[in-house]
Structure formats: structure tokens, C-alpha cells
Symmetry: D2
Subunit: 339 residues, 4 copies
Amino acid sequence: MIIVMRAGATDKEVQGVVGVIRELGNQEHVSRGKETTIIGMIGEERGIEEARFAGLPGVVQVLRVLTPFKLASRQYHPEDTIVKVGRRRIGEGTFTVMAGPCAVESQEQLLKTACEVKKGGAAVLRGGVFKPRTSPYAFQGLGIEGLRFFDKARKETGLAVVTEVMSVTEAAIVGRYADILQIGARNMQNFRLLEAVGRQEKPVLLKRGLSSTIEEFLLAAEYIIKCGNPNVLMCERGIRTFEKYTRNTLDLGAVAAIKKLSHLPVVVDPSHATGVRDYVIPMARAAIAAGADGVIIEVHPEPDKALCDGPQSLTFRQFDQMMKEIVPLAKVMGKTLVK
Amino acid sequence: MIIVMRAGATDKEVQGVVGVIRELGNQEHVSRGKETTIIGMIGEERGIEEARFAGLPGVVQVLRVLTPFKLASRQYHPEDTIVKVGRRRIGEGTFTVMAGPCAVESQEQLLKTACEVKKGGAAVLRGGVFKPRTSPYAFQGLGIEGLRFFDKARKETGLAVVTEVMSVTEAAIVGRYADILQIGARNMQNFRLLEAVGRQEKPVLLKRGLSSTIEEFLLAAEYIIKCGNPNVLMCERGIRTFEKYTRNTLDLGAVAAIKKLSHLPVVVDPSHATGVRDYVIPMARAAIAAGADGVIIEVHPEPDKALCDGPQSLTFRQFDQMMKEIVPLAKVMGKTLVK
Amino acid sequence: MIIVMRAGATDKEVQGVVGVIRELGNQEHVSRGKETTIIGMIGEERGIEEARFAGLPGVVQVLRVLTPFKLASRQYHPEDTIVKVGRRRIGEGTFTVMAGPCAVESQEQLLKTACEVKKGGAAVLRGGVFKPRTSPYAFQGLGIEGLRFFDKARKETGLAVVTEVMSVTEAAIVGRYADILQIGARNMQNFRLLEAVGRQEKPVLLKRGLSSTIEEFLLAAEYIIKCGNPNVLMCERGIRTFEKYTRNTLDLGAVAAIKKLSHLPVVVDPSHATGVRDYVIPMARAAIAAGADGVIIEVHPEPDKALCDGPQSLTFRQFDQMMKEIVPLAKVMGKTLVK
Amino acid sequence: MIIVMRAGATDKEVQGVVGVIRELGNQEHVSRGKETTIIGMIGEERGIEEARFAGLPGVVQVLRVLTPFKLASRQYHPEDTIVKVGRRRIGEGTFTVMAGPCAVESQEQLLKTACEVKKGGAAVLRGGVFKPRTSPYAFQGLGIEGLRFFDKARKETGLAVVTEVMSVTEAAIVGRYADILQIGARNMQNFRLLEAVGRQEKPVLLKRGLSSTIEEFLLAAEYIIKCGNPNVLMCERGIRTFEKYTRNTLDLGAVAAIKKLSHLPVVVDPSHATGVRDYVIPMARAAIAAGADGVIIEVHPEPDKALCDGPQSLTFRQFDQMMKEIVPLAKVMGKTLVK
């Protein structure tokens, strides 16, 4: 941490900062220039916030030298993490397509979708049974009953399953039925939940919060890894901006940034990012070209009848079209499709 | 709900929409104009999303007629809600000052702060013992031990207590020690937690999410009320924008809007909204003039040593200065200070 | 400027930075710590961007020590600027109400409005004749003809006049008819236009851009002052965010920040900030309590017939109500109403 | 336009709306439902704002049926516009690389860059001589002298030239030296400037404003086309959001949306969008996969010595690397590289 003092800071002010540094068990390095005095803190800085110094008398700015995340950082862990889901390997060098309905509505709907997306080239089946809904009056998902439908779908298609966990108490049971636990965007900073999935064995698909910075996103991953679960898939799903033609704004720059800052695989969700069926395929293409390791796509047998997110769900035909368009791009990018 | 069809929509497309309306147990009213056809849905629309119609063939726009929240709306409940906390009445006609440290650090720190803010004119003591922190390495709060410190502070000062609940499993125990349960900004759409505090007896201080719209904020209140707890205090605490001179952007327009759209009391948190001590007093003044029913303020015996949020915490002297400035404004606004 | 090098930066990398500092005519102060090397640049830093160093090998962060604006800063000019408009003095200690129609529509409309707002307590008449409109099909203003209407209104009421300038070529003629030149939000970074009004004698009301930071806003003022015109009124008029219940998000924290960082007076525009008539009065009240030196308000004889911005225009009766509410607040704030 | 009245709207309120519709020369279609009354306006709606109705008594919502832009819309002009720059054809089916320094610094720098990017596969040379700078103390460009340097660069390489116009008075002279006139992001709603380039013969590269919606962006293009110049290239260059790891947030969803809503070609600027050299290549790749018709890239012989935007400028070697990566993607996308 580097603490910049105001021009003409007094000795007492400098000593105040030095005192805090020592109190934190660290050492100081004071450099007095003509115009300003700069104090470096030598020692562990993670877990110490800029705020600890920002309000002290004479301090004008506080600068962090290290990233605040460690286990999730590439500095600490230079090789790419490959997340294993059974025999499948998600990460650098491969491309994984996850697909399925927004909400699981029936055994038949789920199974039919599973068969179709499997045929099209997906490796993972998605589908929500615990649904975080903005309105308490909206369809809240089938709950545990819906979980059971996954078993048959997995058995008949061999697809792995990803589904959302909404609370600490659901983590264990979802862990029994799913191969990947999803943390939704609205729960990205539900820290108790992050700790709970951090104690599970199954990999976690962590969605970026609607207004989360890349740094906060990686710190959320840090919570999970710190609790013992290193298998985190970072999912960029669009951030909230002023633009209204799309539901959210897909931030593909975040894909490039996370690939540089971290060793974790990155998956893109163009369905929630755009909210509009017509934009899902172009954004899936763009995701792969940006360097993503996978996409997660909403597909429904009859989007017009979907209980949730119909306008952004692809039909089976559109899903096939998407696969036709992205496979050659994956090849150019040197990525093998995970089956 | 009003569904606008594209120019030249076919009969089949119109029938498709009508079919969905009837399936939902509602009735249609079709109005064919020269340029466009408009279909009104008559009946219950809450719980039905625009998305249910937005993706249907021929549909160009879907328009909600009613607000999606009901119990929280002034349409449904025209009189202002007054939230009772013991003998204190929070809401229209009164002004409540809540104050205390960001984090409870010790019995002594809490008690000292409680005495000072009580003397200054506060009615409620704030302080976090379960702390939602962006980094897993940051101070996470004293937990249950900290809760116990509130008992002494309440006994000696008579102040009511508000503190944050972070998970479903903590709701009951926090409910035993606190007079008001706080839901933090990052948990505003942690729906399981909303349901949990909705089943508690104590009033809830609901903080607005960092990127939540006013509509989503009121829908979060709706979750709580729907579960049986009508005593919700809406807390505007700044939203996330591009501006970086302040930590967040305080949205006082939201105070005016919520006062119009809803019957619930509104409290403003200028400490988190600005993140800068110097701006807390002006924003507390502005909040009261905007029509807020209270403020919640971070105060610390020694902000320079605070384990959390020091730069935005007021000293005791500054807190007294704030009270001196806001009391005359409250008077002009026709509001009585709650003691 | 402070340049932080990566851990283990080589001598060559350090020398690279030092070379650039010297090339810029400044001196370096190199401080080698155990973990990192920090280089301070001593000398003039304004006009040098962080980017000049940010891309150099070995550099991890660049930190500006001084604000990038100088003439507009309180560091440089500690006393509050009072802008004189004839005998009127706008700034600290006074409160100025500017009011009038969004667009000048006719001599009669302007005159009638002028008389009413004068009676109510306004000191300045606003009204647009050159209208920057998002759509080329919208009413573009009466142009020079409209300018002439101001003469009669001023003569009959004694009000000062503020109106917008949209281009360099209009600056001189608007300067002949208006007492204050307005730069609209969409032109806040039209640098040629800033230079043009910087060469005029009349004070300038500078509106904040829709997505401008406070720093950019003050740098826009710096352009004007640097060209010779020190009389700049900073106008906060709401920024663009995700929230849609209000047209923009009024950033009153910016009022507090500009009052601290700069010596220039601050005026608030609650009409454009909220876009909703019902919210204008509460936000005018909040502005004054936040420390603003004035407000600018849209008023129309018949808002329902306004050619522009009807929904946010106050009626005469509402304007009177607003004055009744803000005058006592101004008094509490120690401010005298400018007549 | 569709005007939705509140439940229980009176006849007088309905007649008020009808009166305005007729005043505007249009016809009404009133549809009274059980719960609400809806009024359709039949006739020309472009140029009429929602605000014209939004404030009328009894009105709860106003809904536009047509896009507010016409000449720029695909509804009106279904075939893709191909912009001709000499023998080159920019638009659907082709891919154009524009490259060069942020600022023209000398004849030598420009020429050297031009030769290299030409060799690498660029078709258009970029470079600023009139530079819109946030700070008045920053390098403002070489001005007219710099314009002359383009002549030699064009002659020696055959590249077309794009450069920025900052004011109405510069439009003609820039038009003599450049093949494409650039409107910068900060001037996207400088309507006088849009009109000025609309009267020029040269094609226009229109950059999206930092916080402009796609609709406003297309309306800015509408200004230019309406003034007589149909050759507009839409340039997505990142929008301003809360995220700070990248300078702006590249909105590739906007590429897909504009391709659907409009017939105009779309160019992407990954240099300004990310502000970080390492992210330029991934975002150039993503742009092409999203369906863009070109990219505009900052390249500098020695980025470390660039007077402007060094951190985001590619070296010659990096530019070659970029071309190597995007050419195969262009091929997959069915696009021919414009030489």
C-alpha cells in the first residue's frame, strides 16, 4: 500500500500513518520529496482496506500495489485452471456449450430440450428450479421436484447439469442433483452463500453481479476458493447500464481482463446479457472470439410458451444455427468443442 | 397489460396473443386501428411479466398499466405507514436519526458512541456485527458476541438498535437482540433472506441495492410485506454510477419518487452514499429537505482507528454539528425529531 | 505525478521513466523500497496525462498529486467567486432563482412568464431560442427572432436573461441579448464552444454533461476561465444512470464536492434532473439544503401546451408554492434571496 | 403514438388528449376498455415527443410505435448501405481496417505508420490533428499543418484518410484533406456540427457518445442524412459505466442492434473502448465476430513516446499480430478484407 501525503504534511501527520502501519504488523518506508511525502507499507496488504488510511490527517491518496484477490489471481497461480466436470475439461483450449430452458417446467420439457441440445453439440444442460425473481408474484420455480427431473435427463443424454442455488440451506441438496452449482448475479455478494458453495465439492458457475466490477467479481471467486473449492467458472452475463435496447450490456472486455488477471475459466451468457433472441447468436460468436471458454444459452421447445425469459430463448432450430456458426470460430481460435 | 402489435399484424398473430391472455385466466380487449392493433389484457396482471408477451410473433411492445408492486404501493394503501419501534414512531411527520459505528468493535466503543449520539439527539443506535465485506480478508465483524453488546448500550441509553442480518439462519437471533433488522444493499435481492425477515416480528430497514431501480427496490419490500411483515423502512444509500469523487451517487430523486409511489417511510444513508466525511452533513441536510423521514449516520469515537469505513465516519463533534444543522431544517419541513 | 513500478522493475525500466520525466522538463525523485520502486515527478504536472507514463515498461500505476484543473480550483483561488450580473451577486451567501419556459414560443408567452416569475421571486429569466434536440424532427427553437423577445421581457420586469448558445458563430449575437450565456449539457465538451464563450464578457452558466465526472466538469470550466472569462456558474442537472422513474439522477453530492474543490458558484436544475413536475419542488428544496447558490426552473403558462418539456414544467401556481417552500430553507441556510 | 389514460380517466381528460392530437394535424382512435382507455394517434409521429402528451391530465404512459429515426432505419431503407470511399466499399460483405496514430505528431511519424499499416493490411489511415482534449493544458494537435501531412501519406501508400472535425468552421478545410470526416464521441450531439458535415460530400465516421443510447446514436446519424449526406459509418467505441479496469465498456450488443435497426455500416474502435493495449486484439476479434464491418485501431511507431493515448496504441508488431488473428475470422464471417 502506498500512502501519499498532502504537500506540507506535518511530522505528526506522517507519524500518524506510520503508527497505523506498525499497528497492522507491517513496516513503513517513508520517502520525503520536495513537494510531497510518500509512505510505503511493506508487508501483507490483503485484508487491509484503503479506507484504513484514507481518512487519516494529511493523507490525500492511498494506492494498492497488489490486487486485493490472491487465490484467484494469475500472479499467484500462473497456469490456467481447468475445471473438470466428470470426464469433461472446461477451460483454456476447449469450448463448452451449456444450454437449456430458463426454468424447468416439466420432465417432458426438460428431457426434450436436453435431447435436442445434446444433439446440437452442448455438453452441459442448464435449467432453473429455484428461481430468483424480482417480483414475489412471478413463477418461483418447481423447487426440489424439479431437481429430480435432472436425473432422467442426465441418464438419457449424458449431459452434465448446472442449476442455481439460492440459499445456504439448499446448497447440499442441489449438490446431490447437479454437476455444477450456479450462483446467480443477484447473489454474487451473498457472502454466506459463497462460503456455503465453497464448502461443496462440485464446481461453481459464478455469475457476475449486475453492477459488480471485475475486481469485486474476482473477490467473490476468492471467497469460494478460500473456503476450499478451487473450481470456479467465471460467468460474464452483462452489466447494468443506461442502454435499454438490450436488457443488459455484455462486457466482453471483462473476458479479456479476467483471462489476464486470473487463471479461472470464463463463460459468457449472451441470453441474459442481451435479453433479445436476435442478438444471442452474434454475441455467442463474439464471446468465442474474445477468448471465452464457453457459453451458456437459453433454449426452449416453445419460447412463446416459456414461463420465464421467452423473448431471449432460442428455438431448437436457432440453437442448431448458433452451433453451425460458432464451431468454425472455435476452430480458428484453437479450441476444441467439449462433448 | 397492453400489447402493441406491429403494423400489419396477421389475424393469427393477434389470436396468438389472445390465446395467451385467456390461458392466464384473463380477458382480452382488441382494438384495431388503421396503423396498428392494440390488445388490452383485462384482469390480474401482477405476477405476469412483460416477457410473457414480448417474444410472441407480431408483438412490438408490451406495456404494464399497474405498478408491479401492490402491498407497497400508495394506490393500494393511501395512508402513510408509521413504523412503530417501541414508543417511537418513524414516518411522515417525524424525523429519526439513527447513528453509530460502521462495525461494533468492543463493548466500550459501542457504549461510548451510544451515549454520545443519544446526547446529540439520535433515537436509534446502528452498528454491524455481521459484516458483508467485499474481500474475504477484511474484518468480518464480531458476530454473536457483538450482538450481546447491544443489550448494555440499550439499557444505558434507551436507544433502539438496528443491525444487519446476512443470512436466513441469523434472522432469529438478530431478531432477539435488535429492534430493527437491517438488510444490506448487497442482499436486497437475496429473496430467501427477504422472506426470512418477512416472517420476523421486528421492523426491517431495507437498503437499496447498488444498481437497483426504484421499482426493484419496492418489489423487494413487497416480498417482505407479502410474508407478513408490513413494517419496512426504505433506505436510499446511493447508487453506483461512473462518478468517482463520491463512493456512490446519492439519489434523492428516489426519496421523492418513493414518497409518491409508496406509503412506506424513507430513510437516507449519507455516509455510504458519499463515502467522504465532509459530504455527510450537506447530504443529511439535503435528505431532510427532500422529504426523508430519517437519516442513518456512521459515527465513531476515533474514526482514524475505525476497523471499517473510517473516512466516512463522523467524529462526535461533527455529529453534534450535523444535529445543529438539521434540527432547524426539520422544523421548517414540519417534522418532529423522534427522541 | 507519482509513478509506481512493478515489483522487481529493472534499472532500465526505472531509467525509462526518469527519461520521460526529464524530457518533460521536470525532475525525478526515485524511492526504492523493498517491494516496489516509486518515482515522484517534481515540477509542473498539469497538462501531462497519466497516460504519458501508464504504458511504459515496468509501470503499474500512475497517480496524480494535484487536481488537473487549476484556475477553477479552490487550492489556487481560496475565496468564493461571486458572479456579478448587473447589480445582482450570485454565489456564496445568496440564493438566485432562475425561471422561465424551456423554449421561447412567443413574445406573449415569454412576457407573461417573466412577469409571473418576477412576482414570485425569480431574479433571472430563462428560455431557449436555439434548442439542441435529440431528434432533427423536433422543434428547434425560434432562433434570432426569439432572442429579440428577451428585450421586452427584460425591460418590463428588470429580470436578467440566460439563454443557450449552441455554436461558436452564435456566441456573439447571443451575448448581445443575454446577460448570462448557457452552455448545454450536450455541449459541455464542445471545446471550441467553450473557448468561444471564454472570449465573451458575459458570465457563463455551464451545464454538466450527462455522463461527465466532476473532474471533467471542472476542466470544462477551466477552458472558459483560461480563455479569459472567470465568471462561470456550475450547473448540476442530473446525470445519466440506469434509473428510469426519473429522467436523470440528480447528483447533489456533486454540489458538496464542487463547493469544496472549487470557488465557483453552483446552480441546480431540478427540472431536467427529474423530468417530472412532482419531483421538482422537493429537489429544489434539497438543492438549497445541500448548499447550492441557486436553482434554474422550468415554468410555463400552460405546461400542457408547451412545445418542449411540458411534463417537467411548473405552472405559475406551483412556482409560487416552490418559492414559499424554499425561502424559509434559504433563511435557515444563511442565504439571502437575490431579487 | 399510443397514449394510455389512468383508470377512471374523465371524458374531459380524454378530450384534452384528443385536442392535442388534432392540433398536431393527426387523427385519434379512442378505445375504451373496462379498466383503462387507450388513445392511438394516427398520422405522422416523428418529430412529436412523448413529452407532448406525458404531462396531460389523466395520462399515465405514452408509447411510441415507430422508431424516432427514419432515414437511418432499416424499415425505411431495407438494403444495406455500402459507403464508397474512392474504389473502396465499406459495409456488409467487406471488412475494413482503419489504423494510425491517435495524434499526428510529425510528417515522419505519420508516414512511417502509414507504410506499416498499409503493409499489414489496413485500407484507411487514421490520425488526429484537431484533438478534443479533456484538459486545456493537454496537447491540442497540430491543426492545419498536420492536415497537410496526410497528402504525402496518401500519395505514398494509397491509403484513404479519416480525421476528426471539431467545429463547423473546420468542416470545409478538413473535407479538402480527408476522405472520411470523423465526428468525435464528445461531439455526437453537437447538432450544428452534425448539420455541417451533413452538407459536406465526404462520408462521415460518427462516433457514439460516451453515454448515448443506440436510439440517440441513430438520431445523430439522422441529422447528417437529413442534411443530404447518406454516407454515415456508425462507430461503436465503448460507453461509460462504473467499471474501471477498462477505460470504457465496449458494447458489442450495439453492433448487433444497429445492424438490425439500421442499414448503415458499423465500425468498432477497440482502442478507445478498452484503453489497454492487451485488450485491443481480443476486442478486434470479437468485433468482427459480432458482425462489424470494420475496426479503427490506434498504432504508433513508439507508443511509449506517443503524445496521446500511448497505453492503448499497438506497436507495428502487435498490429501485424492483430491482422494475423482477424483475417481468418473475417473469412469465417464471409467478409472480404478491403485493401
